[in-house]
Symmetry: C2
Subunit: 250 residues, 2 copies
């Protein structure tokens, strides 16, 4: 038996997120189905990030075990032949049998994109959140800087979170504007449920002038979800990459 790691890219628009659920199509359900077809055995993948409905990925990670003799490197090609065009394996390789994509230290990169102009632009609508309210990127960056470091992010996660601890470390947050597209790029050791979308929603409140950058400190200290801004819509969020400390990853 061997354990295989897949780097999985997808357009989340037409899926009910990553995680297996009854009666809906998810990324996980499609991967399980197509891998089981390919190898004529029951395959169950384990995902690194269980992205929500509508969230996109350039490099989510999944692992699975198989008895198949196909070299791990060839699996990406064989699987892509069977997958719908909105899911594409970017890489496949063998990893140690004890490798678990959520129990290993890793560096995760997410991007939240906001189209900020007078009217929506149709070709960007599926991969960014649109707002015509002018956002001040410098204020957003200033607010973002208060989030960098090791903090208790209880105010920045869904109240439904069941994590053992809400302490996480953010390495960097960059807020950049290219033409009319604002990109919030967040790199961290791990993220709580809805954390990046709540960060994006809060930075937008700062950007439009409803909050001051300095308030971030108080919001963090409050440990209270209601103090932060709203959860920004899913379509603006893209999981860019998972990098594992031992060099495994996208």
């Amino acid at each position: 038996m061997k354990r295989v790691m897949l780097t999985v890219a997808y357009d989340g628009t037409n899926y009910h997120g990553w995680q297996l659920q009854p009666n809906v199509i998810t990324i996980e359900s499609v991967l399980n189905e197509k891998l089981s077809d390919l190898f004529h055995e029951e395959i169950r993948v384990i995902g690194a990030s269980r992205t929500d409905t509508g969230v996109h990925a350039l490099g989510n990670i999944a692992v699975f075990d198989t008895e198949a003799r196909m070299p791990a490197e060839k699996i990406s090609y064989a699987l892509n032949q069977r997958l719908p065009e909105d899911i594409r394996i970017q890489n496949s390789r063998e990893v140690p049998l004890e490798f678990h994509p959520r129990h290993q230290n890793s560096r995760k990169t997410y991007e939240y994109r906001i189209l900020n102009r007078e009217f929506p632009m149709p070709v960007y609508r599926l991969y960014s959140h649109f707002t015509y309210v002018p956002l001040d990127v410098e204020r957003m960056q200033k607010a973002a800087d208060y989030l960098v470091g090791k903090h208790d992010f209880k105010s920045f996660c869904s109240v439904n979170t069941v994590a053992e601890t809400t302490v996480r470390t953010i390495y960097t947050i960059q807020v950049e504007k290219t033409n009319e597209m604002i990109t919030i790029r967040v790199i961290g050791s791990g993220f709580l449920y809805n954390m990046v979308r709540i960060i994006a929603g809060t930075l937008m409140e700062v950007g439009r002038g409803n909050m001051e950058p300095e308030q971030i400190t108080d919001i963090l200290a409050a440990l209270d979800r209601t103090k932060a801004g709203p959860t920004a819509p899913a379509c603006g969020l893209t999981l860019v990459s998972y990098e594992y400390e031992d060099g495994i990853g996208y």
Copy 2:
């Protein structure tokens, strides 16, 4: 009565192109329907570029006449309320009654995008053409330079073209690569049917080494469609802008 000019952006994925046709949904049919609803009179738009099925636009131009008293500048807002989210008016304004979007001198900008990497990336699939064959951008630019200027582009248009003359002027062509995305940006006085897609298909042949840049001169001279490369797929093409000489336009 007044004549109103619309700057129209759309995602062409779900439309049978611009032009009105029986039994299918086109950009023109949707605009006619929603404008007629809005003004309670029969409205027929005239488009500047009759883009093909699957081609996108950031700024196509349409004009129509109306008896409505709504100020022209407000029409964009009112119409966007009624349009599906893959069509969005970017600007509306009054133009002289004799203004015709295809009979006026204008400068048109098109972009053809090619994703050039090992595997397709789902989030780019609707707005670029994918190829894993490595393309040499410098060779493509060298070939493109032979197309700049006033030429008879008979070799670079569909054999179905009914244009009176196949002489056109290309002002500039830039071939640029950012990460794994190649963008061919063509600016000209006018384009024949399928011309930009045939240019893109031909430059790709040069980029992969099947043709030499210098051959472009012979292809132009041949006045024969079969000498140029294939017509590149529609999804890679975006009509970026129309700019009219008198300052009217997007």
